[in-house]
């Protein structure tokens, strides 16, 4: 990639997530400026030193919990104040709810849904307006292949990601006219801290590094939606084509 053409100022919300960290490293290695947002200040500081060593020019940190919506405008203001412009924003946080618990514990289910859907929508709303004023840039969000069809085993997570999918689809149309691009990233299984305790099928599980390469490419090519690794587009197509009469009987 040509360093002079590539985005230089990157804002990452949820910067301590495995995928975000891998993406940040790729941008760091081409000398980017990074504005990192996450709730854990100690982890942020360590990630910052790592990115500096890997070549980042400037790393700024902002501590924020996903539910602190009133801090969002301040966060956005600081990011723009730090670097003048932001070329790329990436929203990368999320949790993986325990579906069984969510079926009986309503508070838990609602909190998980809010973290994965509502708070992301809040972030997108604030970012969208700032990017609109700027008149260019890419807003990217990590969704999931789980949004393609609600499955019995994780529909709380899946429906939250579906909300994001619809939201970004609309936002994309709105911002396109203003020169701002919206990218939805749909990873399959990725070996990160979030999935460390799951029994993931080895052959279908990607490394955060390979997912980060896909994301960086999708950003530079202004893709609308990207499945990563790409074979998930095919897997999900098949899953979407299964008729409901059969689908509801499957334990997927």
């Amino acid at each position: 990639m040509n360093a002079t053409l590539s985005p230089q100022n990157i804002l990452i919300i949820g910067a301590t997530s495995g995928i975000a960290e891998a993406v940040a490293r790729r941008y760091a290695s081409i000398g980017a400026n990074l504005f990192l947002v996450a709730r854990n200040s100690k982890k942020l500081a360590i990630i910052s030193s790592d990115l500096i060593a890997r070549g980042a020019t400037n790393v700024q940190l902002f501590v924020l919990n996903a539910h602190e919506y009133d801090l969002l405008p301040q966060m956005v203001e600081q990011a723009w104040a730090a670097f003048g412009i932001i070329n790329v924003a990436l929203i990368a946080y999320g949790t993986l709810p325990d579906q069984t618990r969510a079926e009986t514990d309503l508070d838990y289910a609602i909190t998980e849904f809010r973290t994965n859907a509502e708070s992301v929508i809040a972030c997108l709303t604030i970012l969208a307006n700032r990017f609109e004023t700027q008149g260019y840039g890419v807003i990217s969000v990590i969704g999931s292949v789980a949004s393609d069809r609600g499955r019995g085993s994780n529909y709380v997570y899946g429906s939250a990601k579906s909300a994001i999918e619809s939201f970004t689809s609309g936002l994309r149309s709105r911002l396109y006219k203003k020169g701002v691009h919206v990218l939805l990233i749909k990873p399959g299984f990725v070996a990160t801290a979030m999935t460390a305790n799951l029994n993931l099928p080895e052959k279908l599980t990607a490394s955060p590094e390979s997912v980060a390469i896909n994301i960086q490419n999708a950003i530079s090519h202004r893709k609308n939606v990207v499945y990563t690794p790409s074979f998930w587009a095919f897997i999900m197509l098949i899953i979407k084509l299964i008729p409901n009469i059969i689908f509801k009987r499957l334990s997927l």
Binding site: K43, D50, A53, A193, A196, E202
Partner: protein, 443 residues
């Protein structure tokens, strides 16, 4: 779910991984394993051949997610990083800035923690000693003390028990060490064909002091007149050249071929071995060839073939690496080679290396002033046991020793005599960490 083996895939005792990504998770993850399984072990990248990276409980803590650089000073070349960081990644970051690893083993797919725990050595042992010599400080998690800093001056007891300590003194969380400066990413290499061991010892005597990296490959199946023939390879980091300033510190391209699955049988047998070794020996027509090569093929020729350990099939293989004290080097190596040639077994690569007299701070460090020999043997239970017994006796008689990182067979008796400080390690061992190797050689 992935089950992990050691590099030699023998003994075949799959390990169940529990990943940690941050230092403050170690206590929790280790605690959970220990609750039901009593003990655990840290697994870096599994590049140890035998059972030293296998937990008695088969439940290991994996550290590859702890791969961050905590601080780097590009003026002084001091780098401080989490223990899961691989040498491959380190090179990607340090080389373009003019720094290289002070010591590197023959693969870059090792973790920093694993390199410390085995106190790895490289082709420059005669001038740089082991990796442990370049460590400034360590952060270690112990289940009884939490995270402890140690160095030559602070908690030096823990420091020397951790370097080469086989992952038993605690969990290495982060390591600070000194890099070595380089002007270019290339190596000026000279390869000299030699006809026998005597010639090898003459070559090391006359070239080791002017070359940072030296190693020899020998045809271990050659007998009679040809016994001990091979290639002696020496190299130095190339100096900067004013004409090519922009290409001087370039990373090697990322190209790897892959052995995608276990072949149904071992691809290594006496016939293919003999053909390979003869071919390799004669490949070089001239007696001496000098070339300027990239650091990657020079240090890591095997890394270009991902999972090459699979060519031995399901049964796996064992490496036999010993070091013989200087005084008896030549005769003992000749005897060992003769035994191996007689057995008709042996490896693609028999590697001979003159080790220097620089002493490591580590209590269980493997290298000693003398000659080290390393070979791979496809796993055949009876054949290997018989041959290894004979070789062990030869090594033992002259006061040599075997490398725990490569071992899956040595007896408790031989280990305890060769590493008299083992009891100190046992006394300092974190009771939650216990490897199959340690169980075998101490109980």
């Amino acid at each position: 779910m992935v089950e992990l083996l050691s590099w030699g895939r023998y003994p075949r005792q799959p390990q169940h991984p529990h990943a940690v990504f941050w230092a403050d998770e170690i206590s929790h993850v280790l605690g959970k394993i220990v609750e039901t399984n009593k003990t655990s072990l840290i697994y870096g990248m599994g590049r140890s051949y035998g059972d030293s990276c296998l937990a008695v409980s088969n439940q290991v803590v994996t550290t590859q997610g702890m791969d961050r650089i905590l601080a780097a000073d590009w003026e002084t070349g001091v780098i401080f990083a989490q223990a899961g960081l691989s040498f491959a990644e380190l090179i990607q970051i340090t080389l373009p800035r003019g720094w290289f690893l002070p010591v590197t083993p023959g693969t870059k797919y090792v973790s920093l923690g694993g390199a410390v725990a085995n106190d790895v050595h490289g082709k420059n042992h005669h001038v740089m000693g082991t990796f442990g010599r370049h460590i400034l400080r360590l952060f270690l998690y112990r289940s009884d003390e939490g995270i402890v800093e140690c160095s030559r001056h602070i908690r030096s007891d823990l420091f020397v028990a951790t370097i080469g300590g086989l992952g038993l003194s605690g969990v290495i969380v982060a390591v600070e060490f000194q890099l070595r400066p380089i002007e270019t990413s290339r190596i000026n290499q000279t390869s000299i064909r030699f006809g026998g061991l005597t010639e090898f010892f003459q070559l090391t005597a006359s070239h080791d002091h002017t070359h940072e990296y030296t190693v020899a490959w020998i045809d271990c199946l050659a007998t009679g007149q040809n016994a001990g023939r091979g290639h002696y390879i020496m190299g130095n980091h190339a100096k900067a050249d004013i004409a090519h300033t922009h290409t001087q510190l370039t990373l090697a391209p990322h190209k790897r071929m892959k052995i995608p699955f276990d072949p149904p049988f071992s691809l290594i047998n006496t016939l293919s071995l003999r053909a390979f070794n003869t071919l390799y020996y004669h490949k070089q027509q001239q007696k001496q060839i000098s070339r300027c090569v990239s650091y990657d093929p020079f240090f890591y020729p095997l890394d270009s073939l991902k999972h090459w350990n699979r060519i031995y099939g399901h049964a796996g293989f064992q490496q036999y690496q010993c070091v013989i004290p200087q005084r008896d080097g030549q005769t003992a190596i000749a005897d060992i080679m003769q035994e191996i040639a007689k057995s008709g077994s042996g490896s693609f690569l028999a590697v001979l290396k003159q080790c220097g007299d620089i002493i490591s701070p580590g209590l269980l460090s493997f290298p000693m002033h003398g000659v080290s020999l390393a070979l791979d043997f496809p796993q055949h239970d009876q054949k290997n046991t018989q041959l290894f017994n004979r070789l062990d006796r030869l090594v033992h008689e002259v006061g040599g020793r075997l490398y725990p990182a490569k071992d899956a067979h040595m007896s408790a008796e031989h280990f305890q005599q060769a590493y008299p400080q083992w009891q100190q390690i046992e006394a300092m061992r974190d009771p939650r960490l216990f490897s199959k190797f340690w169980q075998r050689v101490t109980q």
